[in-house]
Symmetry: C2
DNA sequence: GAATATATGGAGCGCCGTTCCGCTTGGCAA
DNA sequence: TTGCCAAGCGGAACGGCGCTCCATATATTC
């Protein structure tokens, strides 16, 4: 069609249109609310309806479900990651800080029905979320784990990535309410297993 | 319709028709083969096609997917459960037997792509499989765990159910190939955490 | 006010699980 | 051997899903 030689006299596409920004915000708010009630597996249609937009709009702003999930939870993930140094400074020992930080992470997962499971079920689709975790959480845990290893509290040869994934998997299984099963107990035992 | 006073001269309905039995066998074989290649989440249509039967037939014999899965794996589950006493008798110690039995269970799960995940994702749908596990595997593990506790090798206050579920969850997460992650290492640490 | 890139919405497609019912067939009685 | 009929069968059909596509509407610029 076009020869594509149009000069760029208009504002370079860096600024989005006002309605586009408004819809993106509406989508984020709606998704956050729907995720709480219906879980992160909520039908795309429902999220679009809650935001009062059409299917096309949601896919334009968030090509994959993971993009939406990442956008919604990025702030909370950051908060969790940033708590690492603080805990390390205030806790009685690095291992205590490790326990507290893991608690924080578990709390985060616990309020996100199906998040951990969804990530596991569709790792490719949620690769962006996976990347966010690697990028923010793994380094935070690495610091704490390293400190605990320096004091000799942790001797097991486990990587931060392995540990955080194990915790995620265990939480994924514990999301379902079951009085017989307590994911936190399993995690406590796992942490104990990391000691000598 | 009928008044129900028909005398029972015919064979009581306990015996199924020959073609029905043939189809059930064909479905079991087809499902076992499809599960290996496509995972336990394989579309129902595909299984029906592989068995050369229609949709109605598969639902007639196995009203839920879990019924089919249970039928396919029951034998392997039994084998795993029955290995418990043998291991306990031959292993160097109850804790060693525990490790070996858990290895067996992990092997079983490892060859069933998506089994553990499927059970977690749809616990209601797979309640029959869940029941099979509780019925066969929990007692087997309980014996080993009890023996290990008697010798003082295991001190943690964990129930057999909790332990087997934790292992299942960890395997569910480790099913995806990922050179960075080794589910067996996590499980080893967890077992270590069960010791003093 | 006109022009145009940008953004929108929802119909439509393909895949899924599951149901339902008209047709087929195995097995028994006569 | 034949006729009968309940047990068994197949697959069309339905509703719900994720995702795409493009005619239409709108914000923005000149």
């Amino acid at each position: 069609m076009s020869e594509g030689d149009k000069p760029l006299s208009t504002t370079p596409s860096s600024a989005k249109r006002a309605d586009a920004r408004r819809n993106e915000r509406a989508l984020l708010d709606a998704a956050a609310s729907v995720f709480v009630t219906d879980g992160v597996d909520a039908p795309v249609r429902r999220i679009a309806a809650a935001a009062g937009v059409g299917m096309g709009t949601i896919y334009r702003h968030f090509p994959t479900r993971a993009d939406l999930v990442v956008a919604v939870y990025r702030h909370q993930v950051d908060t969790c990651a940033e708590a690492g140094p603080t805990l390390l400074a205030t806790a009685a020992s690095p291992f205590a800080a490790l326990r507290q930080w893991v608690d924080l992470f578990v709390d985060f997962l616990a309020t996100k029905h199906g998040l951990a499971a969804a990530m596991r079920n569709d790792p490719d689709g949620f690769s962006a979320l996976h990347a966010l975790f690697i990028e923010r959480l793994v380094p935070a845990l690495a610091d704490i784990l390293g400190a605990a290893r320096e004091t000799g509290e942790v001797t097991a040869d486990i990587t931060p990535y392995q540990l955080i994934r194990a915790i995620g998997d265990i939480c994924a299984g514990g999301e379902r309410v079951d009085p017989e099963y307590d994911a936190r107990l399993t995690i406590r035992l796992l942490l104990d297993g990391c000691r000598s």
